[in-house]
Structures are given as structure tokens and as C-alpha cells.
């Protein structure tokens, strides 16, 4: 008996010691709002509480994006645009804005991990994101429970707004629209009657592939092959050969550039010479043209480039000044990201208030404000409907000609 208790005591003591050794530094760092005895009345009434930003701290907007690795061009481009919108703003009553962009690796698991981390920080009041549909899907319930409104510039999966979330909103078009437009283009404009459909298994990729498959068949076409690939591999000759064996005239790929680049480079090897590659907004970007070179000629992808305007030209100039790449070079979402930042700032400034030298942002009020957004941006009119769809413009299609993405010219097909 003695031995048992002694060892048990030792373990717990060690545990407690080390735990408490780490605690003091932590207690100073995080301001736990629950401890704050003088919460303003508006915060007491708000069912989700308030975001608290003490003097000297910044108002933080969080983001879950793929910042490292194969998909980093999206994360880098989008975080740059959002941080530009935050930097261009003068702040609110002496508090400035800051973007906290955490890496999700492009996976849903990463999205959930980032969300769990961001909700522990009371100075994070809104989320510009997430960027990938899968990672958004995983993070949504977490933000819902914590009361952080989301505005995504790029998450396109249609199901995201049908789940009854009150916090999720997006500026990007939905894949229901993108898939339909793609199927229409493939069947009617480009005249293909037999296509193969491939996807990467993720929420975004497979969702899109399924929409295209259904729409194409509804129009009267035939989907001769439907294959999934695993992300992150170097060799797709086997699944591509399997698709080639069915004799398609074009292949639609729902997925990101990281995979479509590898596929495009192995096109001829797999027996798909002469077969058209039709990609999604995930394929668009300078990474694809650079890494496929001559192999990528003629590939088609979707994009979210807004029509030309004075504001767009001005933005392009400022973006080029601040960052080594041009707007729209790394991904299609530079402009919608800029709009996202501005929209969130507008919403925050409409509900935040200062009390006793500390800034408070009532959470449910902010969620409401984002959902009720009615403004204009680079991408056009931004009016959110009841389920969180805030943008009416659809995808535009681009093609690789002489190593660069140009708007798809149907007359030359």
C-alpha cells in the first residue's frame, strides 16, 4: 500500500509541478475575459460573449490557409491580399488590425486544428477563411460554437452554405455554378460527348467532380471514366492510363494545381495525347504554367478575375509595390481576398465599442453584421443572402496559350 501511494504521489507531484511551472507565464499572456469583473452590459447580454482587445493589442482577424508546402501559393497570395487590406485601413479608435494566418496544410485536419487554436485567443474577432473547402468544412462547427464569423474568399463547395451555419459566409462563387458552367462549356461550346472525370477525394475536388458528372450526363453526354487520385504523389500514370483506356475526348479534374501539374506532365505517357484537360479554379495560377511548360499548352481552368475598373488597376499597382508577385498570378483569389478584408473591417467597425480603454466586439452582433453585409468591392456588389452567399458573379474560364493564362476564346477552338 505504501509503495503504491508513494509512487502515485511522486507522479502527480511531478505532473503538477511541471504544469504549474508553465502556468505563470501563460496567465500573464492571455487575458481571460471570464475573469474580467467589469464586463460592459452589452457583453453580458450577448449570448456568445465579446471579443476583448485591451489597449496596446491589435484587433486580430484569423485565417486558416495552406501557408507551407504544395498548396502554399493559395495561402501566400490570399494572406498577402488580406493583410494589404488591413494595412491600408486606418484602424478603429486607435486600435489597428492584424492578420493571424495559420497553416492548415490544405487539409481538413489542419483546418480543425487551426480553428481550435484561434478560438482560444480573445483578440481574434473574425475569420477571413478558411481558404480550402475541406478545411472550412471542418472548422465551421468550431467557429459556430465560439461565435466567430467567417468570410471566405475562396471556399467554393456548395454544401458549405446548406448546413445551416450562421457564421459562414463567402465571396467566392459556388461549385454548383462552376460545375454547371464547366459541363455546359464542355458539352455545348467545345462539343465533347465523352469525358473522363477525375478528382482528388477532397471536399472541394470530389464535390466539383460530382457536379460536373451529373450536369454533363443531364445534358446528354457520357462520362466514360471516373477515377480518384491520392494527393501528394509523384506518379499518376496508372490512374491516368486507366482513364485513357476508356477513350475520353476530354478529362475534367476537380482538384488543385499540385496534382494537375503532375498529371499534365504525364499526359502523353498515359496515352492521353490530344485529350483536353479541363481544370477548376484550383488549377489556375502561374505555378501551373511554370511547372508544365510546353506540356500545359491548351489546358483550361476557371478563375475569379473581376472585370477591369479603376479600383482594380489601383489595387494591382499597390499589390505589385508591396509583394514580389502580381495580383492574380499565384491564385485567382487575390481580389476577392482584398474585398474579404475590407468587408470584415466594415462589419467590425459597425458593432465594436470602447469601454474604459478596452475595445469590445459583441460576437453575435458581429455575426449578424457580417451576414447582413451590403457593400461593393473590387469583385462587384457584395450582398449576403440568408445562407451566406455574398457574391453574384460566376467563374470565368481561362486557357494556357503560349505559356500564359488568357481568357478562353471559343472562336479559336
Amino acid at each position: 500500500m505504501k509503495l503504491k501511494f508513494k509512487s502515485l504521489f511522486v507522479f502527480m507531484f511531478v505532473f503538477a509541478l511541471v504544469l504549474s511551472a508553465c502556468a505563470p507565464s501563460a496567465v500573464e499572456e492571455t487575458a481571460d475575459p471570464a475573469d474580467d469583473a467589469e464586463m460592459p452590459a452589452a457583453c453580458e447580454e450577448d449570448p456568445l460573449g465579446c471579443g476583448v482587445v485591451p489597449a496596446g493589442e491589435t484587433i486580430k482577424i484569423g485565417m486558416g490557409a495552406p501557408m507551407l508546402g504544395d498548396y502554399s501559393m493559395f495561402g501566400i497570395d490570399i494572406s498577402q491580399a488580406v493583410s494589404l487590406s488591413l494595412a491600408e485601413d486606418d484602424g478603429f479608435e486607435g486600435w489597428s488590425y492584424e492578420l493571424v494566418a495559420e497553416d492548415t496544410g490544405g487539409t481538413p485536419e489542419g483546418g480543425a486544428a487551426v480553428a481550435n487554436k484561434l478560438v482560444t485567443d480573445p483578440t481574434v474577432v473574425a475569420i477571413a477563411g478558411h481558404i480550402f473547402s475541406g478545411s472550412t468544412d471542418a472548422a465551421m462547427p468550431i467557429y459556430e460554437k465560439a461565435g466567430l464569423p467567417m468570410m471566405s474568399p475562396s471556399a467554393t463547395n456548395p454544401d458549405l452554405t446548406t448546413k445551416g451555419s450562421t457564421v459562414f459566409n463567402r465571396l467566392a462563387f459556388t461549385d454548383a455554378d462552376q460545375g454547371k458552367a464547366a459541363a455546359d462549356l464542355l458539352f455545348n461550346e467545345l462539343g465533347f460527348s465523352k469525358i473522363g472525370v477525375m478528382h482528388d477525394g477532397g471536399t472541394y475536388g470530389q464535390g466539383l467532380a460530382d457536379v460536373v458528372k451529373d450536369e454533363f450526363e443531364a445534358l446528354g453526354g457520357e462520362v466514360v471514366a471516373y477515377e480518384a487520385v491520392t494527393t501528394g504523389e509523384a506518379d499518376y500514370v496508372a490512374p491516368l492510363s486507366a482513364v485513357a483506356a476508356a477513350g475520353p475526348e476530354a478529362v475534367y479534374f476537380g482538384g488543385y494545381a499540385a496534382e494537375s501539374i503532375v498529371m499534365m506532365n504525364q499526359w502523353a505517357q498515359a496515352g492521353l495525347s490530344g485529350v483536353q484537360l479541363f481544370g477548376a479554379d484550383g488549377t489556375y495560377g502561374v505555378e501551373f504554367t511554370q511547372k508544365t511548360g510546353a506540356n500545359g499548352e491548351g489546358a483550361i481552368a476557371a478563375s475569379l478575375v473581376p472585370p477591369d475598373s479603376d479600383e482594380k488597376t489601383a489595387f494591382d499597382a499597390i499589390y505589385a509595390e508591396n509583394f514580389p508577385t502580381a495580383a492574380g498570378e499565384l491564385s485567382a483569389f487575390t481580389w476577392s481576398s482584398f474585398d474579404t478584408g475590407n468587408v470584415l473591417i466594415e462589419a467590425i467597425e459597425s458593432v465594436a465599442f470602447v469601454d474604459n480603454g478596452t475595445l469590445y466586439v459583441p460576437r453575435s452582433a458581429l455575426v449578424e453584421a457580417v451576414r447582413q453585409m451590403d457593400t461593393t468591392g473590387l469583385t462587384g456588389a457584395i450582398v449576403c443572402d440568408e445562407i451566406g452567399e455574398c457574391n453574384a458573379s460566376g467563374p470565368t474560364f481561362y486557357q494556357v496559350v503560349d505559356g500564359a493564362w488568357v481568357p478562353l476564346d471559343l472562336a479559336s477552338e
Binding site: A23, T30, P108
Partner: protein
């Protein structure tokens, strides 16, 4: 004298190369920032204020000192000028290498060469800082001087400490004092007193209760992760530490437990909505069953084959969960959202509640693991671990005990998995990569194989510590890898090794009784 020169030379070359490496990956800058934070010597508030270069000098000083100290290591000649020779050589060699590196890179940088296409961490602004905002030659000279000077100081210090041996003698005296104090009767009496134990127990319990309330959501999240890894470590400890089976696919059980819990409680793929505590039980059961199924075919395999096969099982389970064919069951790569969370008095568990639950589970786990170790089963495992053939010869049913170890280890993983999925509110196949198995294995071995406090300490060091060093975030894994290698070379028995059970010699009367017994 020759050895001193050789040592100095090798030490200098090593430090020179290390310096160049750190330069290329940008750690010198980060190091300066950390020194700055430590000393409160950070840059001014305006955007354009230059970073204080004194921090950089401090970093150089430290490197010089280390070079000098390592040049002197193991040198037992007490001639004072020998140590200075060693230090000088080390300083000169590393200083010259540093001089060349700085001069070459800075000159190229000034000429407009863009390193960043091939070496992204060599930001021109950082390079500007590294040359003290002046010319390459002047900067390189500073580096050389600092290296030489501080290397000399370092070797001088080392010589000082070793010459009289007074430092070592002090240390020896302290240790003896501590051990005599430990052996003294008074202390023993105190520690073994029932009431003292009970009071200490209560104090610790109270501390553990209030801690999660005090330190905020962020730390609850981090420490919760540590607690889950402690549970995982306890389970793997039973398999690897106690019974000596090298299982590299431990994540398979973790995945099965997490997914069972998630699929039974989440609305999305199936909408079963089972009672949460029943779901936890189900998770433990399924992972134990998986342990059984995986264990059966591999019982006959030897050490390294066992490792690769279990690794294979881990990957198989992850790929199957992710694959198209099982998407109907598992929801594929999209993962399972809205995993069930327990409720307390009608309200969903907050992070504090989760922390309390996890602490409770960890304590129970430690208790079970400790009892197992001291039981007959535990001794059987240790026998199997030490030498399986001999164990079998002495009548231990090795198959039974090996499977039992797998089952228990899997059960721990299943419990940890259920907690993991519940706390995260989401789980997906990429949460269960090979790296998780490797992390848990490292926790067990770095902590000390077969040792329970070691597992706890290991989980802290490998999971909790990285969070404390946020600036080193990008370099976290680099340091982790280097730490593993260094630890295995310097202290392979682990941070807190398991105490071997000492066989107590019987005292006078007992010995006589035993002797007479044996004779009869």
C-alpha cells in the same frame, strides 16, 4: 600540445560549419531576436528603427564560448598555455570560416545577387542586419574578432573549472549530502506516514483542479494535447517498454478508437448519436479488438520485422479510412465533423471541463500502468523483454502475455482517440499519419523506456515544450530531430529512467530461516 591543436582544429571546423548552416537557415537572426527578448533589448517602436545589433554580438559571443569550451573538452593536461592554444586555434579556424562566409554572402548581396530563389531564408533585410548595417569587410572582421576572443575566454573558463577540480568536488559534496538526507530515518518516516501521504495527495488534487481554471483556454488546449499524448505514451509503454515489442504502427489503434467514437456520435455520416460514455466504451472495445486482430499474425515475428509490419498496418488503416471504397463508412478524406461532446449540467464541456476529464483519465491511467508493472503480468513482460527464449524456457506463456500487452496498449490508444476526436470536434485520416506513431515512440524512449514518470516528462518535452518556444516555431522539428540524436548519444536510458527492482537481501534472522527452509 599536438592534441590540443588537433582538438582546437576539429572544434573550430565543426563550429565554423555549424555557423554557416545556421546562417543559411536564418537561425542567427532568430537567435538574436530571442536574446533581445530575453534581455529586453528590442527594437524601437517605429517601423524603420534598426534592430539592435548588440543582440547579434551576444549570439556570436555565445558561439565563441562554446567553441572554446568544446576545444578544451577531455583535455587533461593542466599546462595553462595548452588550453589557450586550443582555444585560439578553435577561435581562429571558426572565425576564419565565419569571416569567409560573411564576406562572400554580404558582398554578393550588395552586388544584387538574389539568394532567395534557392535559399528562401536569406532575406536581404536579414543580411543587412547580419553585417551590422555596414560594409562586408568590417562586419566579417567583427565576426572573426568575436570568435577568437570568446573562444579564448571559453577555453580559459573550462580550464579554470577543471584545474582545481573544486567545482567537481562541490558537486560531489552536494550529491552526497542529498543521498544521506534521502537515506536518513527521519525523512523515511515522514514519507511513509499514511497521513502525510494523504495530505500531499489532497494538495496535489486541489492544485490540479484549479490549474485549468487559472491559465486560460490556450494552455488548456496545449496541455490537453499533452495529456492525450501521455495516455498514448502509457499504452505504447506497455507494449514497447514493458514487453519489448517494437510496434511502429501504434497510430492504427488511435485511429480506430477516434473514428469509432466519431462515427458513433456525429450526425454526419450515420447520425447514430449514441450516448457519449457508451461511445467511449465502444471506442476502447474496437481498438482492443483491432489490437487482437493485428497481434495474432505477428506473434512469431522478430524485432525489426515486427516493426515494419506494424508500420504497414498503421498505414493500411489510414489509407483504408481515406479511400473511396470505405467512404460510405468513414466519410473518406473529408473527415467527420461535429463529433459528440460530453455535457455537464446541460452545458457542453468547456475546455476547463475537458482538462479536468483528461487529468482524471491520466491519473487513472498512471495508476493502472503502475499496478500492471508491479504485478505478475508485469514481471512476465519484463522477462519476455529481456530474453524471450529464456522466458519461454522458464514457463512463461509468451504468446499470451504478448497479446495481452498489445490489447492493453490498444485500449489506452482507443481511449485517447475518443478523447482526441471529442475535444477537436473533428477527425480525419490525416490526423493519423506515421509521424504520430513515431512521436509516441520518441516520447516513450526519450522519457525512459518502461518508466512512468518518464512518459509524462517525455510528453511534456516533446509536445508541451515546443509551444513555449513560439519564436522557434519554424525550427521546431529541426531542433526535435537534433535533440533525439543528441539524447540517444548522451543519455540513451531516457530523461527519467525506470528504476530496476532491487532484490533486497534478507536481514540476519530471515536469512537463517530461509536457509533452514531450503535445507529441508
Amino acid at each position: 600540445m599536438k592534441t590540443a591543436l588537433k582538438k582546437g582544429l576539429s572544434s573550430g571546423v565543426v563550429f565554423g560549419i555549424v555557423f554557416i548552416f545556421l546562417l543559411l537557415i536564418g537561425l542567427i537572426n532568430v537567435g538574436s531576436m530571442m536574446v533581445g527578448d530575453l534581455l529586453g533589448n528590442t527594437k524601437g517602436l517605429a517601423y524603420n528603427d534598426p534592430l539592435p545589433t548588440s543582440n547579434l554580438l551576444a549570439v556570436l559571443a555565445i558561439m565563441g564560448l562554446l567553441a572554446g569550451i568544446s576545444a578544451r573538452k577531455g583535455e587533461d593536461e593542466s599546462k595553462w598555455w595548452v588550453s589557450f592554444l586550443g582555444g585560439l586555434t578553435a577561435g581562429l579556424v571558426s572565425g576564419i570560416l565565419a569571416w569567409l562566409a560573411i564576406w562572400v554572402t554580404e558582398t554578393m548581396s550588395i552586388d544584387g545577387v538574389n539568394f532567395q530563389t534557392y535559399l528562401p531564408n536569406m532575406d536581404p533585410n536579414d543580411l543587412n542586419y547580419l553585417r551590422f548595417y555596414s560594409t562586408p569587410v568590417a562586419a566579417a572582421n567583427t565576426y572573426l574578432v568575436y570568435f577568437v576572443v570568446f573562444s579564448l575566454i571559453g577555453s580559459a573558463l573550462k580550464w579554470l573549472f577543471s584545474i582545481n577540480g573544486w567545482f567537481a568536488k562541490c558537486w560531489q559534496v552536494c550529491r552526497e549530502g542529498v543521498s544521506t538526507w534521502k537515506e536518513s530515518k527521519n525523512l523515511k518516516g515522514v514519507l511513509e506516514n499514511r497521513w502525510v501521504m494523504l495530505v500531499a495527495f489532497l494538495i496535489v488534487a486541489v492544485v490540479l483542479y484549479f490549474l485549468p481554471l487559472a491559465w486560460g483556454s490556450y494552455w488548456n488546449y496545449i496541455m490537453g494535447t499533452v495529456a492525450i499524448y501521455v495516455l498514448l505514451g502509457l499504452g505504447l509503454n506497455i507494449i514497447v517498454g514493458y514487453s519489448g515489442q517494437l510496434v511502429l504502427g501504434y497510430v492504427a489503434f488511435f485511429a480506430v478508437g477516434a473514428y469509432t467514437f466519431a462515427l458513433l456520435t456525429a450526425p454526419e455520416p450515420h447520425g447514430i448519436g449514441l450516448n457519449l460514455w457508451l461511445a467511449v466504451g465502444a471506442a476502447v472495445l474496437t481498438s482492443t479488438a483491432t489490437g487482437f486482430l493485428i497481434g495474432l499474425p505477428i506473434l512469431n515475428l522478430r524485432g525489426d520485422y515486427l516493426a515494419i509490419v506494424t508500420l504497414g498496418f498503421g498505414e493500411i488503416i489510414r489509407i483504408l479510412i481515406r479511400s473511396d471504397i470505405l467512404t460510405v463508412l468513414t466519410n473518406g478524406p473529408k473527415g467527420v465533423t461535429n463529433v459528440g461532446q460530453p455535457t455537464l449540467n446541460g452545458e457542453v464541456f468547456s475546455d476547463v471541463n475537458y482538462m479536468h476529464l483528461l487529468l482524471l483519465l491520466v491519473l487513472i491511467g498512471l495508476f493502472i500502468a503502475k499496478r500492471l508493472k508491479d504485478s505478475r503480468t508485469g514481471r512476465a513482460w519484463i522477462a519476455i523483454r529481456e530474453d524471450e527464449t529464456v522466458a519461454q524456457a522458464t514457463g512463461v506463456n509468451t504468446y499470451r502475455y504478448k497479446i495481452l500487452a498489445l490489447l492493453l496498449g490498444a485500449a489506452f490508444a482507443g481511449l485517447a482517440g475518443a478523447m482526441f476526436a471529442s475535444r477537436n470536434q473533428f477527425t480525419g485520416p490525416e490526423d493519423f499519419t506515421m509521424m504520430v506513431s513515431i512521436n509516441v515512440l520518441c516520447i516513450v524512449i526519450v522519457g525512459g523506456m518502461g518508466s512512468l514518470p518518464g512518459v509524462v516528462l517525455g510528453a511534456f518535452v516533446l509536445k508541451g515544450l515546443p509551444e513555449l518556444l513560439r519564436e522557434l516555431e519554424d525550427y521546431r522539428l529541426l531542433v526535435f530531430g537534433a535533440l533525439l540524436v543528441v539524447m540517444m548519444i548522451v543519455r540513451p536510458e531516457g530523461l527519467w529512467p525506470a528504476a530496476r527492482v532491487k532484490f533486497k537481501k534478507p536481514s540476519g534472522k530471515q536469512a537463517k530461516d530461509l536457509a533452514t527452509e531450503v535445507e529441508q
